[in-house]
């Protein structure tokens, strides 16, 4: 075992820090640190292109397609530094979900067509998996894509499709073979501006729409937009999830949250002294700091393929459960630290343009908005209950 970062990794960290210092502006940093959902889209696209110029846009893609070739540790360092510096969080759907799938399973034409705009951030993607009747039980999805000459005719309805309203492209799960119950599911790329697509925003609990309903009504999609062979979507989905085994721990956000909590607690007061010195508050904060630090080691163990006493296939679920539980607790502690100020509604736009005053300091906007939204983190990406079912099955054959 060697549980230390190497000198090279530390030098890399300094290089990343210097780059971030040079390239981020205070306005962008402020907007990122508000942690609103959805984040500012222009900032993300701009940052995507800035990183691409440096060759750093796509740590999750293979090197030959524009990836960075970093070790998992370096990638972790890079993401942590970006988060803490207030860099916009790049959208996942293209860079981290469908990009790697296209590189692995896509045709040469698909790679040429779709990867460069993903690297540059000019084309953003939506993930169209869930349906009204198919949430946890994704395999029961009903949307269909029926081959008609050289095109598929797609019909159905998706829901909870994050950011679909301002995405150029979508990757959808559809049934290409309507005869079998579980087979016949394929992944298909659809241009979101195609005739027959209607998109309706869903206002979320934090007062802003970040997810959408997508109605597909006889949408014509070129046959070559199917990824791989028909009926192989599960294989692709499994690959997609395996790539992102540790991301649901949300470890970078957790560190950002801790920093935010401490910053608030230094400014707020209780019993005549800074909240951060209040024994009860310190107890709660320290407890969460310890759990986040332990979660960090759990993430590192998975990233480095550490030998495990339990089936490694269960580890993504372990990280997701702990990570989402911590998100609930961290964002609650942040709102608790604000006291009644936490009650003021800041929509995303209000948070970006908030008037800062002694009554309403700059650390207020976004805290409660984030807390409310993060109630969803134990629901999306495989709910807490489903993750528990998975662990029981994989780790204990129960």
């Amino acid at each position: 075992m060697d549980l230390q970062l190497s000198p090279d990794d530390l030098a890399f960290r300094d290089e990343v820090r210097a780059f971030l210092r040079e390239n981020l502006t205070p306005e962008v940093v402020y907007r990122s640190h508000t942690e609103v959902h959805p984040p500012n889209e222009e900032d993300r696209r701009w940052w995507n292109s800035v990183l691409n110029r440096k060759g750093w846009a796509a740590p999750s893609l293979p090197v030959e397609y524009g990836g960075t070739g970093w070790s998992p540790i370096r990638r972790g360092i890079f993401e942590r530094e970006c988060r803490l510096a207030g860099a916009p969080e790049l959208r996942w759907q293209g860079l981290r979900l469908i990009g790697p799938v296209i590189c692995e399973f896509g045709s040469e034409d698909q790679k040429k067509r779709y990867i460069p705009p993903i690297l540059e951030g000019t084309e953003q993607w939506a993930q169209g998996f869930s349906e009204p009747g198919a949430g946890s039980d994704l395999a029961s999805l009903k949307s269909t894509a029926i081959l008609d000459g050289d095109k598929y005719i797609v019909n159905g309805q998706k829901i909870w499709t994050t950011e679909a309203g301002y995405s150029e492209l979508g990757f959808f799960l559809v049934r290409t073979d309507t005869t079998s119950k579980h087979g016949g599911i394929s992944m298909i790329i659809i241009d979101m501006s195609s005739p027959g697509i209607t998109v309706r925003p869903i206002e979320m609990i934090n007062g802003d729409p970040s997810t959408f309903e997508v109605f597909l009504d006889n949408v014509e999609v070129p046959r070559e937009n199917l990824i791989g062979e028909p009926g192989t979507a599960w294989q692709q989905t499994k690959f997609l999830l395996a790539n992102e085994r540790t991301s649901s721990a949300d470890i970078d956000k957790a560190y950002g949250d801790l920093r935010r909590i401490r910053a608030i607690a230094r400014r707020e007061h209780k019993n005549g002294r800074p909240l951060i010195e209040d024994p009860g508050f310190r107890q709660r904060l320290t407890q969460l700091e310890l759990e986040v630090e332990a979660l960090e080691w759990s993430v590192l163990r998975v990233l480095c393929n550490a030998p495990s006493h339990h089936p490694s296939a269960a580890s993504a679920s372990v990280l997701k459960i702990k990570g989402s539980d911590l998100q609930h607790k961290l964002t609650k502690l942040a709102t608790d630290a604000l006291g009644p100020r936490a009650l003021r509604l800041y929509t995303r736009e209000q948070a970006f343009n908030a008037q800062i005053s002694a009554l309403w300091p700059g650390y207020v906007p976004g805290v409660t908005h984030d807390m409310l939204y993060m109630r969803a983190c134990s629901i999306y990406g495989g709910s807490r209950e489903i993750q528990k079912n998975i662990i029981a099955k994989i780790a204990f054959a129960m």
């Binding site: 997810t211 707020e268 007061h269 006291g339 100020r341 009650l343 709910s383």
Partner: protein
């Protein structure tokens, strides 16, 4: 002891339940939240017509002299239906401060509270304050010939932009404590900046710039103000707590119904044991909250300040904590629909957060309880 509702209480609860069922759907709630007031003037008139605003007021002011218990029965039903109106702020908290005052001006306003014409709200919290119970109060009251001038800035004043009157805390140079003053909201020198809160209610920052008020505006002298305010806050905490218990009951009902109708993996969600257990845990917590509420109701009029404090603060903390679990899990068991504005469970969650953060949060109240020793069990 008898926990059964009296006939009168039953009528009150049924009337409120019927009103909520027939007139208070989520759509109208969302519309009210989007309005300038953050509540519905239509509901407000109904409240007045039903005598709900007069429930706990003294007879002399046209009130019904009913109890805090009665009011909590009403507010529990309103909480189920997510109805939020300045009922408690005006007709309980401020009405208590007014009726406990000997001032002539106070009596006149009480009658207007009963009819709904006056909306009176507490302007007490200032920059950085976390709880009404220990707010230090920096606003100033200066004596002039025929009265006072008030200066200072109050924040998180509930319904501050819609109120007709404020009860304002302010201290006179040299006095130990602060006094409580009744001030018309349209008095010269008052500026209000309104904003929405997460649950759709509206609040305001209220700036008082040398606002002149007559001598009779002083409701409570510094010697007694803090004590009277504490008992007014206690009433608000208990009654709002009943509203949260109503929210929890509504969430139990909504969620159990949803689990029975929503199917995944070819069967109703209600058939999964993990979810049955979760529903059971939610019931356990709801029962704890209701019991804490009753213990607070039993102590609300107690002359034993220690006992009252412990019961009120204890209930505040437990109701907020149980509510967080019950309503949070209510969201969880709904899946995606639970985290939308289009569905009630998320609104209940936000109403709970407002309860938790008003009057001091759970940490504050547990600490407050901890300063008072528990009673040792007595040998029979």
């Amino acid at each position: 002891m008898d926990f059964a509702l009296t006939d009168e209480q039953k009528m009150l609860a049924d009337g409120a339940a019927r009103y909520v069922r027939e007139r208070c759907d989520l759509e109208s709630r969302r519309k009210a939240a989007a309005s300038e007031d953050g509540f519905s003037r239509r509901h407000w008139r109904h409240f007045a017509d039903q005598g709900w605003l007069a429930l706990t007021l003294p007879e002399a002011a046209g009130g019904l002299e009913m109890t805090v218990e009665d009011m909590s029965i009403l507010v529990e039903e309103l909480g189920r239906g997510l109805v939020c109106e300045p009922l408690v702020d005006s007709a309980v908290t401020c009405a208590h401060l007014l009726s406990a005052s000997g001032s002539e001006a106070a009596r006149a306003i009480l009658a207007d509270i009963a009819t709904g014409e006056a909306i009176v709200t507490l302007a007490h919290l200032e920059e950085g304050d976390h709880s009404e119970y220990d707010a230090p109060v920096a606003s100033r009251a200066e004596r002039i010939d025929d009265g006072w001038t008030l200066s200072g800035t109050k924040t998180c004043v509930f319904y501050g932009a819609s109120a007709t009157h404020f009860v304002v805390s302010a201290r006179n140079n040299g006095d130990d404590g602060y006094g409580l003053f009744l001030v018309a909201a349209d008095a010269d020198g008052i500026r209000r900046e309104g904003y929405s809160l997460i649950d759709g209610t509206r609040a305001a920052d209220v700036h008082f710039d040398n606002v002149r008020v007559p001598a009779s505006a002083l409701l409570h002298e510094p010697a007694t103000a803090a004590t009277v305010l504490e008992s007014a806050l206690d009433r608000a905490v208990v009654i709002f707590g009943a509203g949260v218990v109503g929210s929890m009951e509504a969430v139990l009902e909504l969620t159990s119904e949803y689990l029975k109708t929503r199917e995944q993996y070819g069967k109703p969600l209600a058939s999964f044991q993990a979810l049955k257990h979760r529903m059971s845990e939610m019931l356990v917590e709801t029962e704890q909250a209701r019991s804490a509420l009753y213990s607070a109701l039993a102590a609300i009029d107690s002359d034993d300040g220690q006992r009252r404090r412990r019961a009120i603060s204890g209930a505040k903390a437990l109701i907020a904590q149980s509510g967080h679990f019950v309503i949070g899990e209510g969201i969880q068991l709904h899946g995606g629909i639970g985290v939308t504005e289009e569905y009630a469970v998320g609104h209940h969650f936000k109403a709970l957060i407002v309860y938790d953060k008003r009057f001091g949060d759970s940490d504050f109240h547990i600490e407050r309880c901890g300063q008072i020793p528990a009673e040792e069990p007595q040998a029979p």
